[in-house]
C-alpha cells in the first residue's frame, strides 16, 4: 500500500480513521502529562499505574458485567489511583524507597489482576470478555464510541493541566519554594498524579497495560532534547506522542499479526533515537560536530601562534618555516599538515617555496588577535 493510499484511507476508511483519532488522542494526552513525569524523575510511575490498572479492569467487569470502555476505564482509573497512593504511603510511612515501592506495587497489583482475569475467564458468559486485549492493546477494536470516551477524558485532563499550569510548573521545578509560598503542594501533587492516571487509562485499550509506560516516558524524553522551555516541551511531547501513536496504530491495523502496543512503542522509540542523535545543543551528533569544530579551531590557533612565535624569534615576519619545526612545537604533530592546508585555504598562511610556510598579513593579524585574547583571559 502506498503512502498516498494510507493517507487516503485515513480520511475515508472508517476503521482507520477511528484508530488514528483514538491513538492521536492517547498520544497527545500521555505525551503532555509524561513531560511532567519525566521532569519530576517519576518516569516509572507510569509503569506502575498502568500495571495496577489491570485488577481494576477485571473487577469493573466482574462487578458490573459490562464491557463498556467507560466502565472498564473507571475501574482502571480507580485501581491505578489506589496503586499510586499505596506507593506514596509506603514511601512516606516506611523506610522502603521509591523504586522498591513502585516495583512491588506494580507486580503485586498485576498479579492480583491476573488472578481476577483467570477468574473472569471461568465465568460462564464471559468467554475471554475482550479483557486480554488490555494487556497488549488492540487498536483495531476501537469504535467511535470509545474514541468519544477517550477524547472526553483526555480533554478534561488537558483543561485541568492548562488551568493549574503555574502550580504544576512549580511542583516540577521547585517544590520547596511552592510550599514556602503557601501552595498546598501535596494536593497539587495528587492532582497531577490523578491527571497522569487519566492519561494512562485513555491509552490502555490501544497500547495495553504492559507498554503504556513507554508512551509516558518516550515522547517526553524525546521532547526534552529539543528545548529547555516547559511549554514547548509539553507541546512537542504531545506532538511526538500523537505522531507515534497514529503511525503505530495504523501500521498495526493494516498489517496482519502486528500487535498495536509494541508497534507504537517502536515508532516512538525511533523518534527518541532521532532526537538523541540530532537534537541541537544536546544531541550526540551535534555534540560530536561541535567537539570536532572546537578541536579544529584549537589546532588552527596553535599553528598560527607557533608561526608568529617563530617569526618573532627570527626577527622577520617574512621568514618561512618548515612543518617539521611546527610539528616539534605542536601538541598534536600529526595534524599540522592538515591544519596548514586549512589555514592556507583561509588565506592566513602562504607557501613561499616547497615545504616552507609563513604568515600572510591577514594571518599575522589573526595571530595577534588570538594572542591578545589569550592575554585577556590570563
Amino acid at each position: 500500500m502506498s503512502l498516498f493510499e494510507v493517507l487516503q484511507s485515513l480520511i475515508s476508511d472508517y476503521t482507520i480513521r477511528t484508530v488514528a483519532l483514538g491513538s492521536a488522542t492517547l498520544g497527545i494526552v500521555s505525551g503532555a502529562l509524561g513531560a511532567f513525569a519525566v521532569l519530576r524523575r517519576q518516569s516509572l510511575l507510569g509503569d506502575a499505574i498502568s500495571h495496577t490498572a489491570l485488577p481494576g479492569v477485571a473487577l469493573a467487569f466482574l462487578l458490573t458485567g459490562s464491557r463498556l470502555p467507560l466502565t472498564l476505564m473507571i475501574g482502571a482509573g480507580i485501581a491505578g489511583w489506589i496503586g499510586t497512593l499505596a506507593v506514596m504511603a509506603i514511601v512516606r510511612r516506611s523506610r522502603i524507597k521509591q523504586d522498591s515501592a513502585l516495583g512491588m506495587v506494580l507486580a503485586v497489583f498485576f498479579g492480583i489482576g491476573l488472578v481476577l482475569m483467570t477468574y473472569v475467564q471461568r465465568t460462564p458468559d464471559a468467554g475471554k470478555a475482550g479483557l486480554d486485549k488490555f494487556l497488549f492493546g488492540q487498536a483495531s477494536t476501537l469504535m467511535t464510541r470509545d474514541v468519544w470516551t477517550m477524547g472526553s477524558i483526555a480533554g478534561v485532563a488537558l483543561i485541568v493541566l492548562f488551568l493549574f499550569w503555574k502550580e504544576f510548573k512549580l511542583l516540577a521545578f521547585d517544590q520547596e519554594f511552592g510550599t514556602s509560598m503557601g501552595f498546598p503542594m501535596r494536593i497539587i501533587d495528587i492532582l497531577l498524579t490523578t491527571l497522569l492516571v487519566a492519561a494512562i487509562i485513555v491509552g490502555l485499550q490501544t497500547v495495553g497495560v504492559v507498554l503504556m509506560s513507554a508512551m509516558v516516558v518516550a515522547p517526553a524524553a524525546a521532547a526534552r532534547q529539543w528545548t529547555d522551555r516547559l511549554g514547548l516541551m509539553v507541546v512537542l511531547s504531545a506532538l511526538f506522542g500523537a505522531l507515534a501513536g497514529v503511525s503505530g496504530a495504523v501500521l498495526s491495523s493494516l498489517t496482519d499479526r502486528l500487535p498495536t502496543g509494541p508497534t507504537i512503542v517502536l515508532c516512538i522509540s525511533a523518534v527518541v533515537l532521532l532526537s538523541f542523535l540530532f537534537a541541537p545543543n544536546r544531541g550526540l551528533v551535534y555534540n560530536w560536530l561541535h567537539g570536532f569544530r572546537k578541536r579544529r579551531n584549537l589546532a588552527m590557533d596553535s599553528v598560527l601562534l607557533d608561526l608568529l612565535e617563530l617569526a618573532d624569534q627570527h626577527g622577520s615576519r617574512r621568514h618561512p618555516h618548515s612543518p617539521d619545526a611546527l610539528r616539534s612545537m605542536s601538541g598534536n604533530p600529526l595534524a599540522v599538515d592538515k591544519t596548514l592546508a586549512e589555514l592556507h585555504q583561509l588565506g592566513w598562511v602562504v607557501r613561499t617555496e616547497p615545504g616552507l610556510w609563513r604568515l600572510t598579513a591577514e594571518g599575522e593579524l589573526q595571530a595577534n588577535r588570538r594572542l591578545q585574547e589569550l592575554e585577556v583571559t590570563r
Partner: protein, 374 residues
C-alpha cells in the same frame, strides 16, 4: 496431595527463594526497577535464541536471555552516562523497546509454538510438572525443579562467597573502591544473577511476577530487621511463605498460581507494613502517642521546676493555670496532671502541684538533655 501438587509447591518454593536472594541487594541498592527492566527484556533473548536453536529446553536460551539482561543494564547505564536523560527515564526507555521487539517477533513468526505471549507474561506453574528432566530414559523429576534448584544453589554460593564485597558495595561504594573492591564488577555480578534467575523463573511465573518475587519479600524483610544476614534469611522465608500460601489460595479458587503468589507476597508485605515491631504503622502510632504524653509530662515538670520556691509559685503552679501557660485544653491538662501524679513526679495539694524528688530529677535531666548542645 498428589505427586504433581507436591512438585508444583516444591518448584514454587524454590523459585521464590532463588528470587529473594538477589532481590535483597536490589532493594538495598535502590535498583528494584532494574529487575523489572531485565525481566521484560530477556524475552527478546529467549525469542532470538529460540529462532536459532528451535528448542525451548536448550541451555543456549538461558545464556542468550541472560546476555540480553546484561545488555539492558549496560544500555541503561550508557544512556544515563550520556546525560541525555536521567536514570529512571533511561530504564523506562530501554526495556519497552527490547520487549516490544520480542513480542512482535513472537506474534509474527512463532505464533504456533508454545512461546505465546500469555505464557511469557503470566507463566504457568501448573504445567511445570509436565516438562520432565530425563537422563537415559530415567525420569528425574520436573525440569523446572532442576533448573531453579541449580540457580538457587548458584545464588546461595555467590552470596556466601562474595558476601563481604556485596555488603560493602551496597552500603558504601566509595569505601569499597578505596579498598580495592570494584563496585562495577560486583554490580555486574549481581545483575547477571538477576538475569539468570529471571530467565529461570520466567517459565514458571512469567516476566512481571518475577518482579514481585524479587522485590516484595526483601522489602518486607527490610521492615523487620537491620541486619543483612537476617534480612536475607527472612526474605527467603517470607518468599517461601508467600509461594506456599499463594499456591493454596490459587488451588481453592482455581485461578492463576503465579498471580496468587504475587498477591500473597503483597499481603505479607501489607501485614508487615501495618504490624512490624518498631517500623510498622501500628508501632509508629503507639510510639507517637507515648512520646506525646512523655513530652507533656516533661513540659509540666519543667514548668513546676522553674517556678517552685519562687514568689509566683502560688499562681504559676496551680492546675487551672496550665491551660493558660502551656496552651493546653482543659481536659488535656487534667490528663497530663493525672499521669504526672500517677508516675510519682508530682503531688497534688489542693489546687497546687508540688514536685516530688523524682520529679525534680526528671526536670533537671530533661532540661540538660534538651538544652542546645555546645
Amino acid at each position: 496431595m498428589n505427586n504433581a501438587q507436591i512438585e508444583i509447591q516444591l518448584i514454587a518454593v524454590i523459585v521464590a527463594a532463588a528470587c529473594a536472594i538477589p532481590g535483597v541487594f536490589l532493594v538495598l541498592r535502590r535498583m528494584a526497577l532494574l529487575s523489572d527492566a531485565i525481566s521484560h527484556a530477556i524475552l527478546l533473548g529467549i525469542v532470538l535464541a529460540f529462532f536459532v536453536v528451535q528448542d525451548l529446553t536448550s541451555p543456549f536460551l538461558i545464556i542468550a536471555a541472560a546476555a540480553t539482561g546484561l545488555l539492558t543494564v549496560y544500555l541503561v547505564e550508557m544512556l544515563n552516562r550520556s546525560k541525555l536523560v536521567r536514570e529512571d527515564a533511561a530504564i523506562g526507555l530501554v526495556f519497552p523497546v527490547l520487549f516490544s521487539i520480542g513480542v512482535i517477533l513472537i506474534s509474527r513468526f512463532a505464533g504456533d509454538v508454545h512461546l505465546d505471549i500469555d505464557a511469557v507474561l503470566l507463566g504457568e506453574l501448573a504445567f511445570a510438572p509436565f516438562s520432565r528432566f530425563e537422563i537415559a530414559g530415567t525420569d528425574l523429576g520436573p525440569r523446572a525443579l532442576w533448573l531453579m534448584g541449580g540457580i538457587l544453589i548458584i545464588n546461595l554460593t555467590l552470596i556466601i562467597v562474595f558476601f563481604k564485597e556485596l555488603k560493602l558495595v551496597s552500603f558504601d561504594p566509595g569505601l569499597a573502591s578505596a579498598l580495592g573492591v570494584s563496585p562495577v564488577a560486583i554490580h555486574y555480578l549481581l545483575m547477571s544473577q538477576v538475569s539468570v534467575t529471571a530467565v529461570g523463573a520466567f517459565d514458571a511465573v512469567g516476566s512481571v511476577l518475577v518482579v514481585a518475587l524479587m522485590i516484595a519479600p526483601p522489602a518486607t524483610a527490610y521492615l523487620l530487621t537491620d541486619s543483612l544476614p537476617r534480612m536475607i534469611v527472612y526474605s527467603v522465608l517470607i518468599g517461601m511463605a508467600g509461594a506456599l500460601s499463594g499456591y493454596w489460595v490459587a488451588h481453592s479458587l482455581d485461578v492463576s498460581i503465579a498471580g496468587c503468589m504475587a498477591g500473597m507476597s503483597g499481603v505479607l508485605f501489607a501485614v508487615a507494613f501495618a504490624l512490624a515491631p518498631r517500623r510498622g504503622l501500628l508501632a509508629q502510632a503507639l510510639r507517637r502517642r507515648r512520646q506525646k504524653w512523655e513530652f507533656a509530662i516533661a513540659m509540666l515538670v519543667i514548668h513546676l521546676f522553674t517556678h517552685e520556691d519562687l514568689p509566683e509559685a502560688e499562681s504559676e503552679c496551680r492546675v487551672d493555670h496550665l491551660t493558660e501557660h502551656l496552651a493546653w485544653s482543659e481536659s488535656f491538662a487534667r490528663q497530663v496532671v493525672e499521669r504526672t501524679v500517677d508516675s510519682d513526679s508530682a503531688v497534688l495539694e489542693g489546687p497546687l502541684l508540688r514536685l516530688t524528688d523524682s520529679g525534680r530529677a526528671m526536670a533537671r535531666e530533661a532540661i540538660v538533655s534538651w538544652a542546645p548542645q555546645g
